[in-house]
Symmetry: C2
Subunit: 222 residues, 2 copies
Amino acid sequence: MRESYHDELDANTDDVVSMANLVRTAVERSTSSLINADLGLAEQVISDDAKIDALHDEIEQRSFNLLARQAPVAGELRTVVAVLRMCYELSRMGDLAVHVAETARHRYPDHAVPQPVAEQFTQMAQIADTMIATAAQTLVDRDVEDAKHLADRDTAIDNIRAEQFRMLLSDTWQYGVEEAVDTALLGRYYERIADHAVAIGSRVIYIVTGEAPEGENWPKAF
Amino acid sequence: MRESYHDELDANTDDVVSMANLVRTAVERSTSSLINADLGLAEQVISDDAKIDALHDEIEQRSFNLLARQAPVAGELRTVVAVLRMCYELSRMGDLAVHVAETARHRYPDHAVPQPVAEQFTQMAQIADTMIATAAQTLVDRDVEDAKHLADRDTAIDNIRAEQFRMLLSDTWQYGVEEAVDTALLGRYYERIADHAVAIGSRVIYIVTGEAPEGENWPKAF
């Protein structure tokens, strides 16, 4: 029974990593569909989101069974509770990638965003990709230091977004209201994807230390 | 011990209701600060968010202790797990109200949104208020039918938002790029507040029936 118990805990970690990998693919593909006005890729991201949601449901069901049958305590209970939150964060990240893909689909065959903005989203997606990979790996390694660095990476995305706002609200913005609105909403989606990665890191810190991290870079309601 | 156990379960429900009431106040005040360019009220919403986050942390800590010491099963375990998710949804709703207040503060002494848009946000805030109240009450009453109706109310907010997009992307939009961008982002915040209320309802259905509700109006990753 205890062996199966630890197998179940490990399966939860494996599924979080699998979810993170699916989310990385979703963010990469949705960004590519946006930049290249690629309708097929956008639709693939939208339909593939069901796989992310299925893993969410699987983790939640397994966690529930673990709590019901094994009554974990201390660090293992913290892990189960944290993973319940993490799978939700990852499913939301998948939903946000879907919103990016839906924007690409909605504007097709046009490009949803002009070239200078496209470059910013490419950068934001690359930073987000590293953050998601790091977030999942910190859970595997229980690495508090790497988890702490996620908040710094998040600042890089916030900075690009601030630059983007300056651009689209300046007198030299030449692309119209629709493009400005799309850009602002898309920027919000990428910002939230990165925020969720930071939140996963904060949960790893909680698992290891039993304390939520403090400071303005961390989610207040941990 | 069992008496204290049920007291703790009840305290969790009470705290969810208290969080919902604080969120209702935050949404009402942030909307008022937005419509009336009321800086003082905006700042109050921003500083009061700490109370919502404190309740989140309290619920989470109590739930953790319940799981560690009482090992609840069946419906009571479902309730503890559901409440863990609900307190997160409510803290996010508080954050979104803060974003509305921050927009009002950022544009002060100007009004952030023009009159026709202000009326739409007033409507969205009123619908959201009813939804948040209903969501909390369904937990108290374990009322599946009321929880199901939350998805219908959500559609009303989505419809106002669709109308808002048509307005700000039409040739008759006379208020400029900045107002359009603010409107689009604010609309997103209200939409998300309503989505979280629906998600709380879906968790109540899960507590009562043991099954997640299905259908396109419900969050996919329940």
